[in-house]
Amino acid sequence: MQHKRYRPVLLDYILLAFIGGSILYFFWKLENELQYEWRWATIPQFIFKNTNGTWEPNFLLEGLLTTIRLSIWATILASVVGVVMGLARVSQSCFARMISRTYVEVVRNMPPIVLIFISYFFLSAQLTRYFALDTMVQDLPSWLYSAISILFNKPSQLTQFVTGVITLGLYEGAYITEIVRGGVNSVQRGQWEASASLGFSRFDQLRLVVLPQALKVIIPPLAGQFISTIKDSAILSVISIQELTFQGLELMASTYLVFEIWITITMMYLVLTLGCSVLSRRVERALEWKN
C-alpha cells in the first residue's frame, strides 16, 4: 500500500480550531468560574521522589508500573483463555461449543464491576484458603522474593494482584474468544473441505490451513483488545488493587489536587495506550508485507 501525503482541507482547520477552542474554554472556565488554583509544581514529586540523592519512582509511577504488570499478565491469560475458548466455539463437539458459548455470554452480559466484586469476595477467598499465597511467599528465599516483586507485585498484595489478573483475564478472554471465532469463521468453508480431501486430520486442517489465514484477520482486533485491557484495568481500583487509578484517587483524597492529578493520570494512560497502538500498527504493516 502506498502512503500519499495528506493535504489538509478547510474542514480540518475548522475542526482543529474547534478542538483548540474547547480546550481553551475548559481552562478559562476553570480559571474564572471556579477560580481553580493550579498547583502543577506539586505533581512531579508524586511521580519521582528523591531519597538520599537517589531517584526512585513515587506512587503515581508505581501505580503505572502495577497497571503495566496487571495488563501484561491479564493479556497473557486472556490470550490463552480466548484461543482455547475460541477454538472450542468452532469445534465439532457440541459440548465444547456449549461451554465456551456459556462463558462468553455470561461474561459479556455482566457489568465488569459486578464480575470484579464477585471474584474479589469469592475467588480471592478461595485463593487464600487453598493456596495461602501470602504466607507461602513469606518463606521464600530472598532472590525469589524480589523476583516476584518485580514480575508481579509487592508480595503482601500478591493475592489481590492474582485475583485482579484472573478477573481481568477472564473478562478480556471472552472478547478474544469472539475475535478468534470470527477469524476462523472468516476462512472460507472450502478451505476446510479442500484440506480434508487431501487427507489432513481435523487438527492439521486447523493448524496448517485455516489458522494461518485466520491470523491475518485476528491480529488487528486483538491488538485493540490488548489496549482495552490496559484501559479496563482501571476498574480494578474498586477492589483496592494499587494500580494507577487507585493511586490517583488516594492522592486526590489527601491533596485535593483534582484536576492536576486526573490530567496527569490521563497522560500516563495515553502514553501507554498510544505506545501500544503504534506497536500494533507496526505488526499490522509487517503482516501486510508478508501477503
Partner: protein, 275 residues
Amino acid sequence: MGKSVLKAVVALLLVVAFCIPASAQNLMSELSKESVISKVIERNKLRVGFSTFVPWAMKDKNGDFIGFEIDVMTELAKDLGVEIEFVPTTWSGIIPALLADKFDVIIGGMSVTTQRNLKVNFSAPYDYTGIGILASLKKGGDIHSLEDVNKEGVIIVARIGSTPAAAAKQYFPKAAVRLFEKETQCVQELMTGRATVMLASAPLPAFKAYEFPKKLFVPVKGTFTKEPIAFALRKGDPDTLNVLNNWIRIKQDSGWLKARKDYWFEGKQWENMLK
C-alpha cells in the same frame, strides 16, 4: 450380667464426666488459638484496613502513610511486637473486605453504629467525632441554621457508606442526597456549585472552609452529632476484643491518644508533609 452392665454404665458416666470439662477446656484453647490476635502474633504481622480520610489516614508526598489512625496502628503493632501492614481500601467495601479476611482489623475513623455492629464487633471507643456542615457560598449562601438545610431544593453531598450519609437522610429528609465514593468528589461538587451543603466528619468542614474562604463556609459552628469511633473486627473473637479494649484504656490513661489527636486535629503543622 446385671452387675457388669452396671459397671459399664458407671464407667461410661465417669468417662463422660471427665470429658465434659476437658472438652470445654479444649474448646476454649481452640478458640484462643483461632483468635485473630494469636494469628497476628504467629504471622508476626498485623494487617490493618483503612481508607483515606484527612487527617485520619493519608499519603504524604513520599508515598508513606501518615495521620492519626496511622499513628494508632503503628503504636498498636509496636506494643504487640509485630510488623504492621497497611491495607488501603475503598470505604464502601471496607466491611465486606474485613469479613472476607483481607485484613485483621479496621482502624479507619469508623463510627460505631448499630447497623454496623450487627455485622462486626467494635472495640471500646478510642476517640469521638461528630458531623459538621460545609456549605457552598454560591449555592448555599442563605443557609444559617440546621433548619435551612432541611428544605426542598437543597442538595446534600456525602461519602457512600459513611455516617454523614446516613445522617443526611435522617436529619434532613426534605433535602436531596447525593453520594460519592471519595470526599474529594463531594468538595468538588460544592466548589462547582452543583451541591448546596456537604456533611462530613469534623474537622474536614472547618479545614476546607479555612482553605477556600471565597467558595466555602461553615454555616453552623461545631458538630451536630457525637459519635464514638472504634476498631472493628470480625465477630466471635473475645480474645482480640479484650486485647484491643485494654490497649485503648492504657493509651487513654497515659494521655498518648489525646496527644496524638491534638497533633493531628488541633494544629496543621503536618500540612507541608502532604504537598
